[in-house]
Subunit: 150 residues, 2 copies
């Protein structure tokens, strides 16, 4: 079962390389695609955070990439399945980040902490409702804490 | 800019209708697609929550749907842009839920609180790391709290 998606916006920032850390202070402008009207952003200024789904078009799809690997390609970290890690090389190459809204501008949303490089296609933007966060305590293995390089 | 995605899994549960509330206790089995090996799920049992990106193939795309509307089609709620609400009718019809991991089974992940109906294609599964949650306080308009029907 296949389906087609299209870019509704593009990431604009000063990063042109997909490095693994230090994204937390990067400010990005999410610029609407030509055929998306400004009114699609109306109301976003009332939210502190959004979830951004974007396409890692610079990454490797799976397959042909492997279905499991060491997290971040680091042999010190466990070898786990692609769905137990957030690495960019994955089926459909969909990435997802929860980021801070800085401002809503004409035809653009300015955010902080988005770990996508300049020119990356954005497929969706969703506001974070108070109840759309994880319920209860979050449990995660300690190796994933080590990745906290943002 | 268009790209093609494919289902890596399908949602199996007892819900066949896209109603707007009371999903929090719904247990769903996310069944891997035939060409996805079991090892892709390895390591997921160590996480309490995952983010699931799925395709609302029963919903209306935008366009031809409107770029702004009353949240949940409820005229008591504000008329905001599609990117300031999480409604299913949206560009690319991508939905995203953060859900509890119940168990990892053979060729399947069992979760609680996933608001997709039986048969829905899943495009990605990502573990929630402690640091992939929103940083700091979440601010959201009170109308979005009212939608807390899960």
């Amino acid at each position: 079962m296949e389906f087609t998606a299209r870019a509704i916006a593009f990431i604009r920032n000063e990063r042109s390389e997909a490095i693994d850390d230090d994204w937390s202070e990067v400010v990005s402008t999410i610029e609407l695609a030509r055929d998306v009207p400004d009114e699609a952003l109306e109301g976003l200024a009332d939210f502190s955070h959004v979830e951004v789904i974007f396409l890692a078009d610079w990454a490797d799809d799976v397959p042909p990439g492997p279905w499991h690997r060491h997290a971040q390609g680091n042999s010190r970290l466990p070898d786990v399945g692609v769905f137990a890690q957030r690495n960019k090389d994955r089926p459909n190459r969909l990435l997802l980040s929860t980021v801070r809204v800085e401002s809503v501008e004409t035809r653009a949303l300015v955010v902080r902490g988005l770990d996508g490089i300049d020119g990356t296609p954005v497929l969706d933007i969703k506001p974070v409702y108070r109840w759309s966060r994880p319920e209860g305590d979050v449990r995660a293995p300690s190796w994933s804490d080590e990745l906290d390089a943002r």
